[in-house]
């Protein structure tokens, strides 16, 4: 049994929120540079250059990459040999509250009916998974809503098959147009149940940008989807070209014989994510 103090978790989460808002990770920066190198359109190329400069300014001047610093989404993998001293949920929420306050991040969380801002950017959404071992992994994914609002979940009839899935994903991406700030990352959750598919689609975004699924048929489907999405020519910010999407990540889970859940979670180029291991 290993002890982790909830104070350490609170401090860790606070630091994650601030770092995520200002410092893009190498995976997304590499993907943006790759897109820049491939881009042939003048306007789209200019915008990609600007996005790379924006990332530099954000990190150097401590200005958030994007003003929509998102709803906080926390993915925890808690080793079953860990004992947490203090209240885990309090520590997570307090960490988010402190980070958004002390990091000068925008507080964008409100009541769904009254629309009254909670003023703290809490509550954050927490997904907790128990795993073997004695570590605690915390991943933070602040999610802006330009892209989140373009996401969807559908229960397709199994007869729709692979072609139905491909068609649905492409339709959604095309309908999203320039709203989610393309170049985007398309997270697809296939199978499971209603809520499982949505969670898989979001989890797919945690995979380093452009890394293929280790299931060969899924990897082939990811590649096909990426090719077909980019062939539509919407491009960077809808200004045309070959860089509508940087990657398609698909996660799968067995589902009911009568069901084919498909969830699509769209992420923008401001793909902010950070993790710590305690």
């Amino acid at each position: 049994m290993r002890e982790i103090d909830s104070n350490e978790i609170r401090k860790g989460v606070r630091d994650l929120t601030i770092a995520a808002a200002h410092d893009l990770e190498p995976d997304i920066l590499e993907a943006l540079r790759g897109a820049r190198d491939r881009e042939t359109g003048e306007l789209a190329g200019n915008i990609l250059d600007l996005l790379l400069v924006n990332a530099e300014i954000a990190s150097r001047e401590r200005i958030p990459v994007c003003q929509d610093t998102g709803t906080g989404i926390l993915f925890l993998e808690l080793g079953q040999e860990v004992h947490i001293r203090g209240d885990l949920n309090d520590a997570l929420q307090e960490g988010v509250r402190l980070g958004y306050e002390e990091g000068y991040l925008r507080k964008s969380v409100c009541d769904p009916l009254t629309r009254k801002n909670t003023g703290t950017n809490t509550p954050a959404v927490v997904h907790l998974e128990m795993v073997p071992g004695d570590r605690l992994v915390i991943r933070f994914l602040p999610k802006g809503c330009g892209s989140e609002n373009m996401s969807s979940l559908v229960m397709l009839p199994p007869a729709a098959g692979t072609e139905g899935v491909v068609q649905h994903v492409i339709d959604r991406v095309v309908a999203a147009g320039s709203n989610p700030c393309p170049p985007m990352i398309v997270g697809v959750g296939l199978g499971g149940s209603f809520e499982k598919a949505a969670l898989l689609a979001k989890k797919a975004l945690l995979r380093p940008v452009g890394v293929r699924s280790d299931r060969a048929d899924v990897a082939a489907l990811e590649e096909r989807l990426l090719r077909e999405i980019n062939a539509r020519g919407q491009g960077v910010h809808g200004f045309g070209g070959i860089n509508t999407a940087l990657a398609v990540h698909m996660e799968t889970f067995p589902c009911h014989i009568a069901s084919l859940p498909v969830a699509i979670n769209i992420q923008c180029h401001a793909h902010r994510h950070k993790e710590i291991i305690l």
Binding site: L50, V53, P64, R106
Partner: protein
């Protein structure tokens, strides 16, 4: 004029446009053009729109005369001490679509956000001689440095959703809808269709 202040020259020689627009400048804008804006604009997003239209419903005056002005859809992040503003990129425009025709009818000359507008908004823009611009979504840190002054005008309790007056310098934007009724997103889509043909 380079927008990237010596870090890069990609944005050299952009047409410079003063805000608020003169009628001539407004008429000269062409869909697809990348321009550089300097001068005064107003900001507002969901809450500001809701409240402006509520004032109109009650027959009251608006806190600011929007005639001839540019309304920028932005909810900035808070400034660090000593700074003018935090990140200040555009939010998605379609959420303002249901309010926009009323503001255009009051003489609002231009709106700026990101993403396509509804058919109703496009029609109202044509009817009232207004344009729509896209700012660069997700470039909030860069755009922050283009905002030289920020002043609260109304609805301060709405936080980042309040109505501000900004002074901007060399603020890049792409013309989406021009006075001739052209829509840049639609032009791109049409060109792609042709390519498929």
């Amino acid at each position: 004029m380079s927008l990237l202040r010596g870090e890069s020259v990609f944005f050299d020689n952009l047409p410079e446009v003063r805000l608020p627009f003169t009628p001539e400048a407004l008429a000269s804008l062409k869909a697809g053009q990348l321009i550089s804006l300097s001068g005064t604009l107003y900001t507002g997003r969901d809450q500001t729109h809701r409240r402006l239209c509520a004032l109109l419903d009650e027959g009251k005056d608006l806190p600011v005369d929007l005639a001839g002005q540019l309304l920028y859809y932005v909810g900035p992040s808070p400034p660090r001490p000593g700074r003018v503003i935090g990140a200040a990129g555009p939010t998605t425009s379609y959420r303002m679509d249901s309010y926009t025709p009323r503001l255009l009818a009051l003489g609002l000359a231009a709106t700026m956000g990101k993403g396509a507008r509804s058919a109703e908004v496009r029609q109202a823009m044509l009817a009232h001689g207004a344009v729509y611009l896209a700012a660069i979504g997700g470039a909030g840190a860069f755009l922050s440095q283009c905002v030289k002054k920020s002043e609260l005008v109304a609805f301060g309790d709405a936080g980042p959703e309040a109505l501000y007056r900004f002074e901007v310098e060399n603020f890049p934007a792409v013309v989406i809808n021009d006075l001739d009724g052209r829509d840049y997103y639609a032009l791109v889509a049409a060109a792609n269709k042709k390519g498929e043909g």
